[in-house]
């Protein structure tokens, strides 16, 4: 038997090896050796991230292929998506160092890295799935450890509460999704994407199955009306975990949804397009409106990320290669912008002893101009201000909508950018205009967090201006 095609799973295997190494090191290392844990974890993961770029650098496709008779599919697109997830995770790792090295989490930092890696493995499988069972297994692998991460600060009530909420919601959504999958299997007689697409026929059973499936994934993506857990979990979870949830977990769910809708349900566009149309319109609008009222910065970014998920959905609605390219590009840009914001939040939170009110940002420009500038760039990018990457990504999503003639949805989304700008500017206002109540002295950020912020800032500025990134994504995209 030839095992060489297992090598198509190179990224998963690499991740698994890193996981095992870190796990063993964490178990057997001395207290002195634990000091180097973060360095080893981050550098190991950086190597893995670079490995993902290898096919492009060498211009070879040794990772492209199918394994297990089509259960697992790897293509240029999935490699790119995994690279995006990798970059985000790497940045989260860099940002988490300061938090992990304080107090009760110090001796458990190994757990953080290993659990995160196992969720990432699940997300890899979600992205690469060629079969609904694989997708489901991937989603479960990603969800359960995430609940552990959410409750990582287990002696903090909020964090524990967030963990419970998250696990209940993910169990529920998995159940709903599995229910839908059973309908689909009943209706179409297969779990393989390709077979289902070939035998796709509309019946009440398949439509119902699709709706349940969408509901299940909608929880992961926190689309309105499946968003109710988001704010509480984001607020309670440790900041680095929130960052991970809002970018990596959401990105993986968006990619999985994209593939399923394009590959399996491509022919029945008429069924899911109106559903997603309404979901997107409501998600963007409600996310924005609720964000305005928030006073806690993490809740604030929870609603902001709900609304951003709505924009991500817009790329799916376009149902074209342009839409796919716009979506992937959007997630790439969103990664840098949102993680920049969370990096700043993590730094400020450490300084203000866990105060995450927006008021904690008052006068940040006086006490730490660099952090304030990064945050300003981040929210400008999220709000879609040129020359930052967010402007380009939003506009390309709009272009893909325009190409399909979805002018009304386009209009709703465009007007929503103004609302979002309003609340993003509230943060700018707090940092630049308002005076801090207590006299915050200037402070320095942790070095590894600083590296992450430099990476994010470079991403925010460069990704939009360097057109070859989008052009590359466009070449490997495909439509319905």
């Amino acid at each position: 038997m030839d095992f060489s095609n297992f090598l198509y799973m190179g990224q998963e295997i690499g991740l698994l090896i890193l996981f095992v190494i870190l796990f063993l090191y964490d178990t057997f290392c001395t207290a002195n050796g634990r000091k180097y844990f973060q360095t080893i974890a981050v550098s190991g993961f950086a190597v893995l991230t670079l490995y993902g770029f290898l096919p492009q650098i060498c211009n070879q496709s040794f990772l492209v292929g199918e394994v297990f008779g089509g259960m697992y599919v790897s293509s240029d697109m999935t490699i790119l998506m995994k690279n995006i997830l990798n970059m985000a995770t790497l940045i989260v790792f860099l940002q988490s160092r300061q938090w992990l090295q304080t107090g009760e989490t110090l001796h458990r930092q190994g757990e953080f890295y290993t659990i995160t890696l196992s969720t990432l493995l699940g997300m890899y499988l979600m992205v690469s799935a060629g079969n609904f069972m694989m997708l489901y297994v991937g989603m479960e692998t990603a969800s359960l450890p995430l609940a552990c991460l959410t409750a990582f600060n287990k002696y903090k009530e909020q964090s524990a509460e967030a963990g419970v909420k998250y696990i209940l919601i993910s169990a529920l959504s998995s159940g709903v999704m599995l229910f839908g999958l059973s309908f689909l299997y009943g209706g179409l007689g297969s779990m393989y994407f390709a077979d289902m697409a070939a035998g796709m026929q509309l019946s009440t059973l398949t439509v119902l199955g699709f709706v349940f499936f969408l509901g299940g994934l909608g929880f992961k993506l926190s689309l309105v009306p499946f968003h109710l857990w988001t704010a509480d979990v984001y607020e309670g979870a440790p900041t680095s975990v929130t960052a991970y949830l809002s970018v990596v977990s959401k990105g993986a769910a968006a990619f999985a949804l994209l593939f399923v809708l394009y590959q399996v349900f491509g022919k029945v566009l008429g069924v899911w397009e109106p559903i997603l149309w309404w979901l997107a319109a409501i998600t963007i609008t409600l996310g924005n409106l609720f964000a305005i009222r928030q006073t806690d910065i993490k809740r604030f970014f929870a609603f902001s990320s709900i609304s951003q998920a709505g924009y991500i959905i817009l790329g799916i609605i376009s149902a074209s290669d342009q839409g796919m390219a716009a979506l992937v590009f959007y997630v790439l840009v969103y990664l840098f912008s949102n993680l920049a914001a969370f990096g700043v939040i993590a730094a400020v939170e450490q300084q203000s002893n866990g105060d995450t009110r927006i008021a904690a940002f008052n006068g940040l420009y006086k006490s730490n101009p660099k952090l304030a500038t990064v945050m300003t760039l981040a929210v400008f990018s999220l709000g879609g201000i040129p020359i930052f990457a967010g402007f380009f990504s939003k506009l390309y999503i709009f272009f893909s909508l325009g190409a399909q003639g979805q002018w009304i949805l386009f209009f709703i989304a465009a007007l929503n950018t103004v609302i979002s700008l309003f609340y993003y500017l509230l943060i700018v206002k707090a940092m630049w205009f308002q005076e801090s109540a207590e006299n915050v002295s200037s402070f320095k950020t942790d070095t590894s967090n600083r590296i992450s912020l430099v990476l994010c800032t470079a991403g925010i500025i460069a990704v939009g201006l360097m057109s070859f990134i989008y052009e590359y994504i466009q070449t490997i995209s495909f439509g319905v």
Binding site: W407, F411, V418
Partner: protein, 492 residues
């Protein structure tokens, strides 16, 4: 390198230099040097433009293009016709004088960094002939306003900054739909304005694309009823920002209406122009009347800007060559004039610490230089022959009366009334604050304009006088450039 790209590059270089500047002296040197280079560039461009125009009859000159996003046909394309050259000259002058008017700013480094970013947007907008880059620069010009007003402004600055930013961004949301719409309606092959103009946008698309595009730009051009950001914004902004905003940024609106909305969608412009004509008619008269009842100098001038910028859109919608020439002249004239006003108001406010006209009087005795300049600005505003306002408004109304039909004539008559109302509020203000007895004893002995303020004011007055005495200089530049749009509008 293309001379046009230098207009964007110079402010960017200024920003980099500012970033490394440590003390006030370096910052001032950087700003004065950079702004002077911009003025020199603008002058050089004008000379080169006339030379090139003599040998070439292309619609746009100095065109250069760089493919940016090939799959979406987005490219960075620059090129100018006479109108853009005129606008670039105006912008360079205002940016230059603005530097001198903000000589003693707190937090100068940050202020000038945002100020330079603002000018990147303004210059970039006028040189672009690609819809995407044009829109991009348009937004680049908007966002620094928030911080400039919020941090360095006066009065209800946070409210005004937010109001201004959101209203203008609302306009740009409309534009975003409009621009993507134009791209797809014209066959999604190009984003280049000139090439789109040669294609035909189907009328059913024009019917909704024209209003949203015109409205999107119109918000920045203070089109009634979307003008409300303007008085608050201008009143709260620091001097140089008011100058740049009223002087140049509001012209982006008029320029965009004409270059994008009307040029690309002439059928809809004919069909729906009347709606906007009514709105601009209201802008003109309402702005003037509102100015009459204000007591804050900046509010008076801001409402007067609403009225004058309304006149620009009004003239554009008359859609004949004379009126449109007048519209562009009015943009130049109003830009210089309003910048002069704001520079002087800033100067007076910096000394008296009040802008309320009821608390001032007899300033002619206290600061004669500033007062005389204020009178000149006022006279230009109410259209005294020999100064720029007269030339511009005269051309506009001559052009407007060329349109036959009761509707046009009636609106022209209404708009003409604004001249009289302008005279009322200008003379009232001038009489109240400059002449008469000294109201406040503390004002006695206040110093007259300092040398840097004089530079700023004198340069602007020279500009106004030049435009007034030698209008054919500007109209030569403008007249021929209007041919493509006039011929497109006349085709129908």
């Amino acid at each position: 390198m293309n001379i046009l790209s230098l207009f964007v590059l110079v402010p960017i270089l200024m920003m980099i230099a500012l970033f490394f500047s440590r003390d006030m002296k370096t910052i001032r040197t950087v700003m004065v040097a950079g702004a002077s280079i911009l003025v020199i560039l603008a002058t050089a461009l004008t000379v080169m433009f006339f030379q090139e125009r003599a040998v070439s009859d292309a619609e746009m000159l100095f065109v250069s293009s760089f493919k940016w996003y090939p799959s979406l046909n987005i490219s960075y394309t620059v090129g100018v016709d006479g109108i853009s050259v005129a606008m670039l000259c105006l912008s360079a002058i205002i940016v230059f004088t603005g530097v001198f008017s903000s000589w003693n700013m707190p937090m100068p480094k940050e202020f000038f960094l945002w100020y330079c970013l603002l000018s990147v947007g303004v210059f970039g907008f006028f040189i672009s002939i690609d819809l995407f880059t044009m829109f991009m620069f348009y937004e680049v010009a908007l966002i620094p306003m928030y911080l400039l007003i919020g941090l360095w402004g006066t009065g209800r600055k946070e409210y005004s900054a937010m109001k201004l930013t959101l209203m203008l961004m609302g306009g740009s949301a409309f534009l975003m739909v409009g621009i993507v719409g134009i791209y797809y309606a014209s066959g999604h092959e190009t984003m280049n304005l000139i090439e789109i103009a040669q294609r035909h946008i189907p009328i059913e698309f024009q019917r909704w694309l024209f209003p949203i595009t015109f409205l999107g730009f119109g918000v920045l051009g203070a089109l009634f009823p979307f003008h409300t950001w303007s008085p608050d914004g201008h009143a709260s902004a620091p001097t140089a920002v008011s100058m740049l905003h009223a002087g140049v940024l509001m012209k982006l609106g008029g320029y965009g209406c004409f270059r994008v909305a009307m040029y690309l969608m002439p059928e809809a412009a004919h069909e729906l122009g009347w709606i906007f004509l009514i709105l601009t008619g209201i802008s003109v008269v309402y702005g003037a009347f509102s100015a009459v009842v204000q007591t804050d100098l900046k509010y008076i001038n801001a409402y007067s800007s609403v009225s004058h910028c309304g006149l620009v859109l009004f003239a554009l919608l008359m859609m004949n060559r004379t009126a449109m020439t007048g519209a562009i002249m009015q943009m130049l004239s109003h830009g210089l004039m309003t910048a002069l006003f704001f520079a002087l108001i800033g100067l007076i406010y910096g000394r008296t610490h009040t802008r309320d006209i009821r608390e001032m009087g007899g300033l002619m005795k206290i600061m004669p230089f500033a007062a005389v300049c204020y009178v000149i600005a006022g006279l230009a505003s109410l259209g005294l022959p020999g100064l720029s306002g007269f030339v511009a408004e005269m051309t506009i109304f001559v052009g407007a009366f060329q349109n036959t039909g009761v509707f046009y004539t009636a609106f022209t008559v209404v708009a003409c009334c604004s001249i009289v109302i302008t005279a009322v509020y200008i003379l009232r203000t001038v009489g109240k604050i400059l002449y008469g007895p000294i109201q406040d004893k503390h004002h006695i002995g206040l110093p007259d304009a300092a040398w840097y303020e004089k530079v700023s004011v004198v340069v602007l007055i020279i500009g106004i006088a030049f435009l007034g005495m030698y209008p054919s200089g500007a109209s030569n530049l403008i007249y021929d450039s209007l041919t493509p749009i006039i011929s497109k509008l006349a085709l129908l």
